[in-house]
Subunit: 571 residues, 2 copies
């Protein structure tokens, strides 16, 4: 547990707040607010929730993160992958559109927030490191594909459903004959427009004489322009009568006060999903925060980030929101727009609050296809299959982990995908370290160096067998070590001394210690002495605490060379 | 997959079978048969099954293990811990005594056998190594306590139930007022007698002039003597009328042919338990087999052992048995009695078959308290809390894993206990390697050695920072490495070169490679060059397959000393 004041980084940056910082923060807030409105609506839609919940999920969380978080540029709110995971989690226990579904979303934010705060208070942020980078990359890529596929129904104007690629494709094919042509036309043109904004608008603005940074910000306004134009179209052409799905009535006003459910049943069905969402959200958020902090030589405290994100999620659950985390694109915009402190987030929250009070009537005419186009264009930038090629070249084990994560996510959904990814990484790591590299070594002539007999021309003694093991010794490889040594001794019947050379052994756990004792006893029965050489200081200290050294038939030598000099005399 | 002939080790020892081996095997078989009868009945009782199932579970499995197993002395059959786990598993889905309960036991043996065979065919025996020795020791100890507690009801002659210590103690207290005094008297005196046989009989027999080995075997006959005497007492004094629980009617005849259930429902409720039972049974069996094999310089093939145990369990499921494995005490007796080949097991099976045909009517009068006394005396030798003291002295992490395993097993039962033990060991291992030991190093004056600046008087350069990391780099510690290096560079503002010294780095996975790339990029921004030194051959080979070396701002040096000589010129 930690000193109370460290939980409030606001005391840190609050002291030095000046007029310049205020101006910078305000400008950034305006830009981010404009960008967040379509994003928030779209991710609520992705989670299967009413559009306004997206706005609600951006207000309180941003303020709470500003108080508790350590990143100065991170913008917290609904993000694509977490929204998809939310849909998968609550879709298991309630029907989209029902009151139960909304209650489940709110409860999920509460559980996720509580879990993050607990992790932070007990300094367990390191657990996020158990997700390997390639597994995360594979998971994000697969999620991006699923998200894009899940939005095609809105572009086509049909009903379709599914939490994995297979279900989605089947469902789309089943309903494709119901396509609404007006929706499709609007959906495709919006998607095309947004793609052009990403790829073509920035060069155009630069040619027109705008500074690169302004051109960059201009392109970020694309989605809000698409929303304004399609609202006007839907209203002017009365597209609702042509069967186009619009967002419809959105309650006008500030976020409501809500309470999570405290039903044990709901908790037990959601807690696993909450853990997964928290970890994925944390990993995504912290890598954004660290990237941005590095550019300004600032430091991020992972445990405090857990508190900040946890508070944000708890805030979401009490103000009609759903699980949130730090988003990449919005944080980059915030950073590029010049946000100096987390206060920029608070001003963004005020902007969104005003939008929620004043602008919601306009949203009635917003076509769902527009939001779907926004999502598709945003998530396709997440899809990056190059990780498969990279890992294939570098490490087949990492490749297997990524491939399995991608396939399982696409085939069975996000929750199973990420769980499998974590387990496979850990199993592969255990498997690799359970079969450590071992080499019989000999002396390089006229030196004090000892090298692998298979790779080098070295001098060996008939009566002395030296085995180097290149891994820490622990339960997963203890038995392997025993087997390997017994096999080697069986192959060298004239051996009188076995030296285990330990320059790369950073630790020996209790299981491995018992294996060393077993090796010692068994070699004693065969009249072979067992020695260790080049044991590291901390390892020797620990061995000295046991009675291993008393039973050891041989000795512990500081250097391999002194071992050989000494034992040659003896044999 | 493997060559077909390697699946049948019987071809190996069968070729050299002589008259002497035959005699040795027969003698051992007679002794083991006499000893197995009470054990088999008792462990069936422990599993909540009819007594005869214990005999059935010893016949076919022994023969099948003789065909497929590699240990020459291992005796397969019901054992205490596996019987307890069986009771826990099938107790969840059926009421003890019902036909469903028996069907579940048979199905559990089938699933467990199938799983073991699969592991063996795909050579996955190494998975058993993921159980650390201290966790196994803690689990066996806690199981021994639960087993002894579960048998107290038979000693008291009351009904009581529970799958963990807490439930058992509550249940015993609730019913203790129903104690049957005749049963208690017989139970206590039998237990005392069996303890005396263990501790006092052997010295007595030795004083009487018996050879140590014969005295040892004599003491193993204690349980059969207890059974004979208490049967006579129960029959002569008509103890059944005094309310004593007897074994009662046992069908006379050879093991019946049975079929496991193929209901998917039952499979899905039992498969998790089958996996746990298989792994615990395998770990227990293989350590017995290896201990005995070592004494005769024989080798055990773990993957073939999986096939042998798997076949034994499949055999049990088709002949009215329940999950079995290699037992410690019976195997030692078999070994001490001079069994030369697995054929001894087959002769034991014949002996048990005869017993099942001829002796079952006598068992009617056997008091359950006698069997409970046999179990209590047998399992208390499993209880060994010294592992707590040993791990406390050696490694707090191992201590935590053992303590958690013992407490969770006692408090929540065997399945949760062993699962928690495995997970905790793995998490502790990941946690330890996720915070590797790192040291800033400097040159030991007048040598080419570089040591920790905190432990040694060494020479350092203002512009060069050398950091040695004592662990392989992989996903769990990649971020830690990044953080540590950024912190160090922040503390040394005059640094122009950072050298990562890697003599203990046995591998770098994709996540760690990305971290190295990130470190390189970030240091580049700070005008600091990043170098590696003393990188192992296989690691360098792998790095060379990527574009890391092209982007690296510094170089890779073979030795730390050459790095310093080179960079000193530069700065």
């Amino acid at each position: 547990m930690r000193n109370l004041k460290t939980f409030f980084p606001i005391f840190d940056w609050g002291k030095t707040y000046t007029k310049t910082t205020l101006t910078n923060d305000m400008v950034a807030a305006v830009i981010v607010t404009i960008m967040l409105i379509p994003q928030s609506l779209a991710y609520a839609l992705l989670a299967g929730l009413p559009a306004e919940m997206g706005i609600y999920a951006s207000i309180a969380p941003i303020i709470l993160y500003a108080i508790f978080g350590t990143s100065r540029a991170l913008a917290v709110g609904p993000v694509a992958v977490v929204s998809l995971m939310t849909a998968a989690a609550i879709g298991k226990i309630a029907v989209p559109g029902s009151a139960d579904y909304i209650a489940a979303a709110i409860t999920l934010a509460f559980l996720s927030g509580g879990f993050l705060v607990l992790l932070g208070m007990f300094r367990l942020g390191f657990m996020a490191n158990f997700l390997s980078h390639p597994v995360i990359a594979g998971f994000i890529t697969a999620s991006g594909i699923i998200i894009a596929a899940s939005q095609l129904k809105h572009i086509l104007g049909i009903k379709a459903d599914g939490h994995n690629l297979y279900e989605l494709v089947i469902s789309l094919f089943t309903h494709v004959n119901e396509t609404n042509w007006a929706t499709l036309a609007l959906g495709i043109s919006t998607t095309a427009f947004l793609f052009w904004v990403r790829k073509g608008l920035k060069p155009l603005l630069t040619t027109l004489g705008l500074k690169p940074r302004m051109a960059d910000l201009g392109t970020k306004m694309g989605p809000i322009a698409a929303i304004a134009v399609t609202i006007l179209l839907a209203w002017g052409l009365n597209l609702q009568d042509k069967g186009m799905a619009l967002v419809g009535d959105v309650p006008q006003g500030l976020p409501p006060l809500t309470l999570p459910s405290f039903s044990l049943d709901m908790w037990s069905s959601l807690v696993g999903s909450a853990v997964l969402i928290s970890i994925i959200g944390f990993v995504e958020s912290i890598s954004v925060a660290q990237t941005l902090a590095a550019k300004k030589r600032q430091r991020i405290d992972p445990d405090q980030e857990l508190i900040g994100l946890g508070a944000a999620n708890l805030g979401a659950s009490f103000t009609g929101g759903f699980p949130v985390t730090g988003g990449f694109s919005r944080s980059v915009v915030n950073f590029d727009a010049g946000a100096d402190t987390p206060a920029a987030g608070a001003y963004t929250a005020v902007g969104l609050g005003l939008a929620s009070l004043l602008l919601t009537p306009l949203i009635f005419f917003l076509p769902k296809a527009t939001l779907a186009a926004t999502i598709i264009v945003a998530v396709l930038s997440l899809v990056d299959l190059s990780i498969l090629k990279k890992t294939w070249q570098y490490s087949k084990a990492d490749f297997m982990a990524v491939l399995a994560t991608i396939l399982i996510t696409l085939g069975f959904g996000v929750e199973l995908g990420v769980t499998a990814g974590v387990l496979i990484s850990i199993l592969i790591h255990l498997y690799k370290s359970s079969r450590p590299h071992m080499a019989v070594v000999g002396q390089v002539p006229n030196t004090e160096h000892y090298r692998n007999v298979l790779r080098h021309d070295v001098i060996t003694q008939e009566a002395i067998l030296t085995v180097r093991v290149d891994e820490s010794l622990y339960f997963a490889n203890a038995r392997f070590l025993e087997d390997a040594i017994y096999d080697l001794v069986a192959k060298h019947p004239k051996v009188k001394h076995v030296i285990l050379m330990c320059p790369a052994v950073n630790a020996i756990d209790m299981s491995a210690l018992e294996s060393l004792e077993a090796i010692n006893e068994r070699l004693k029965d065969l009249n072979v002495k067992f020695h260790l050489s080049e044991v590291k200081g901390p390892v020797t200290d620990r061995l000295a605490r046991t009675d291993f050294l008393e039973h050891l038939s041989g000795r512990i030598f500081l250097s391999q060379h002194s071992a050989i000099l000494e034992l040659k005399k003896d044999s």
